[in-house]
């Protein structure tokens, strides 16, 4: 009995240490974001709340020049949001359609097309980023949401998620629907889409996070400050910090960090079970 307890206690200890390890940095970031620049500069990071919460966040969120020259964090939040949602929705729609074709149809080009789609999984955007930039520029899509989102959608991860999921849909459902007189489009809309609901939600969440967290591509392809996302804001504030010149605005950096972290974290936590299910099932 005693032995069993020790086992449980050591388990809890490990878990608590792990939880601290995973949360402490964000906690410190949050607390530090509520202090003044001077306090941080003189006394270092802060573990407890300070009195500058409203001031710092207000400045970062709403005051022009608070972080960037013109764009405020609230604007960047909006841009990140658009990127996250646009990316997620675009990806889900396109990959659902493609996966449907792959799983439910026999057609001549199926195999080559499948391989083309598969190939996209192999090469991350990073290694073809310059030509991608030129293609987008050539289409006049720089600084547009379309130009930001489409190249990211080109990778077919979503297609594979849905392919995997469709394959697990019982065959009899299609058979029943055919006996019920449904054609290909009806089956897709009436049956497949509704039963994919949780999967769609899960992938939307995952993709939202992925989109929100995009870094290099938006950094390179947005030239207009008004289109900056929060993650780019992070990069820029980091840049300013490392250039020095005046009292480093650590508190703003932290406030921005928290703002960039909060929405995806909330989404993941609120939809935790879907998210985990989607992540795990789709990757397998």
């Amino acid at each position: 009995m005693l032995k069993l307890n020790w086992h449980a206690i050591s388990g809890h200890l490990i878990l608590i240490l792990g939880a601290i390890f995973m949360t402490a940095p964000v906690w410190v970031a949050f607390m530090s974001s509520t202090h003044s620049a001077e306090t941080l500069f003189r006394e270092g990071l802060q573990a407890w709340p300070g009195g500058h919460f409203f001031e710092n966040y207000n400045e970062v969120l709403f005051v022009e020049g608070g972080v960037m020259k013109r764009v405020t964090a609230s604007m960047m939040l909006w841009n990140s949001f658009i990127l996250g949602i646009g990316f997620a929705v675009g990806k889900v729609v396109i990959s659902m359609l493609a996966a449907y074709a792959i799983v439910y149809f026999r057609f001549r080009l199926a195999t080559p097309l499948f391989w083309i789609i598969f190939m996209t999984l192999l090469l991350p955007l990073e290694v073809r980023i310059i030509p991608s930039y030129e293609v987008v520029a050539g289409m006049g899509l720089l600084d547009t949401h379309t130009g930001l989102i489409l190249p990211l959608i080109a990778s077919a991860t979503g297609t594979f998620y849905f392919r995997q999921f469709y394959k697990s849909v019982p065959e009899e459902l299609l058979e029943a629907a055919r006996l019920d007189g449904a054609n290909a489009w009806q089956f897709f809309i009436d049956i497949l889409v509704p039963i994919s609901k949780t999967m769609i939600a899960a992938i939307l969440i995952i993709m939202f996070v992925v989109g929100w967290n995009q870094y290099l591509w938006p950094l390179i392809m947005t030239t207009n400050e008004d289109n900056y996302t929060l993650v780019i804001g992070i990069k820029q504030i980091y840049q300013v910090l490392s250039e020095g010149g005046e009292l480093p605005q650590f508190q703003k950096a932290y406030a921005l960090t928290i703002l960039a972290t909060l929405p995806p974290v909330i989404v993941v936590l609120v939809f935790q079970s879907w998210f985990v299910k989607g992540l795990v099932e789709s990757e397998k």
């Binding site: 930039y133 520029a137 820029q236 840049q239 490392s242 250039e243 020095g244 005046e246």
Partner: protein, 411 residues
């Protein structure tokens, strides 16, 4: 109004001043609208500008820093030389209007100015007067020999004597200028892209041997590559002296909570008796090709505004970058600015110190990467991973490889 896009690398306090300039300009007239955009550091801005040019989305004005000069000036057709721009679309251009120190750095081999040297800086020694007082030292060191004398005192007073924010710029490029040493063959690269680096010389190696020695003795602090890493250490009074840019002046006045002063960049008496001037750092504004005349008119109009004595004086006062025209310098003098703030003049005085054969500047391709090479090996020297001799042998080899590639690219 016609929009004029200006991509720059002026963050922090500098960025605020840029914005003020834009506001002033836009208020001064209604025909053109100047839109400044911060694109990150110098490297980021150059990257963004190049990418945009390839995508035919280039801004009208692009700020390119010293290390990128070879890349943009050698790319014939990428820019409209500022001399031509002002001659064609503005009121004409006269090189003599500009102070001597800035005329050549961004000019082609014929001496024609390609970029407008907007923010011209030069490395300066900043020192913490309180610290000096505490250590009982009256004056900042003029030479490195003097530095070696006072460093132990500062150490005793609880300070690391010195930090420095840009080893390639300050401890390499300007080292050559100050001591009138040749940096590269082919007239420091001005005459040809077929060029070899000459950093593997005894003087520079001696200097780095010393720096490493200082580091080990606790006289020298190294807080990282980033400009701010070292500047912050000075602001936090960990170091008593800091080698930075004259362009840091404005920021320091705002952030330092102690009295500080400025002084010339020290030199080795053992190398040269009378030090030469340094060459400008910072960056220049390049007018990108591929826009229409109406827009160029706007660019020219803005350039004129920017180089007006009033604006230059404003810029100089707010940031510490030197005024680039004689008229502006005169205005500052006559306004009595240097009476109240004598340190602000040090940069321009240093630039105007007598020149030598090797103080005009340099023109080296892939120099951004060459600076990476320098950083890498200097880091290794600091870390004790390599000897100074080996490091410079490597620097020579790797830099020459890069120069060879650059030469191959442009021929």
């Amino acid at each position: 109004a016609t929009e004029v896009q200006w991509w720059h690398a002026m963050g922090g306090r500098l960025g605020e001043v840029v914005d003020e300039i834009a506001v002033k300009y836009n208020e001064s007239q209604s025909e053109y609208k100047l839109v400044p955009t911060y694109k990150g550091g110098y490297e980021d801005t150059m990257t963004a500008g190049i990418a945009a040019f390839r995508a035919k989305q280039q801004p009208h004005i692009l700020q390119i820093f010293d290390a990128g000069a070879a890349t943009i000036i050698n790319a014939k057709g990428a820019t409209v030389p500022v001399a031509d721009l002002l001659a064609e679309h503005g009121d004409g251009f006269n090189k003599e209007d500009y102070i001597a120190g800035v005329r050549n750095f961004y000019a082609d081999s014929d001496g024609k100015m390609i970029g407008m040297p907007f923010n011209s800086s030069t490395p300066l020694l900043y020192y913490n007067k309180d610290a000096f007082k505490k250590a009982g030292i009256a004056n900042p060191p003029k030479s490195w020999e003097e530095f070696e004398e006072i460093a132990p005192k500062l150490k005793e007073a609880g300070y690391i004597a010195l930090a420095q924010s840009h080893s390639p710029w300050i401890f390499t490029e300007n080292f050559h200028s100050r001591h009138n040493l040749q940096m590269a063959t082919a007239n420091n690269g001005y005459d040809s892209t077929d060029v070899k680096i000459m950093y593997n010389n005894p003087e520079l190696k001696m200097h780095w041997g010393k720096v490493k020695e200082w580091l080990d003795k606790g006289w020298y602090g190294y807080y990282g590559r980033a400009w701010g890493d070292n500047q912050d250490a000075f602001i936090q009074q960990k170091t008593a002296m800091w080698l930075g840019s004259s362009g840091s002046f404005g920021g320091l006045t705002k952030s330092a909570e102690f009295e500080f002063g400025g002084s010339f960049l020290p030199y080795w008496k053992s190398i040269i008796d009378e030090p030469k001037g340094t060459f400008i750092g910072g960056a220049a504004l390049f007018t990108m090709a591929g826009h229409d005349d109406e827009e160029y008119k706007g660019v020219a109009d803005f350039m004129k505004f920017l180089t007006s004595p009033e604006m230059q004086y404003f810029w100089h006062k707010e940031t510490g970058y030197v005024p680039i025209t004689n008229a502006a310098y005169d205005l500052a003098k006559s306004d009595g600015y240097y009476k109240t703030t004598p340190d602000a003049e040090i940069g321009i005085l240093q630039l105007n110190q007598p020149g030598g054969d090797w103080t005009k500047g340099y023109r080296l391709g892939y120099y951004v990467q060459i600076r990476e090479v320098l950083y890498k090996h200097y880091d290794d020297i600091f870390a004790g991973k390599t000897s100074v001799d080996d490091a410079f042998a490597k620097i020579e080899e790797e830099s020459n490889d890069l120069l060879e590639r650059f030469n191959a690219t442009y021929n």
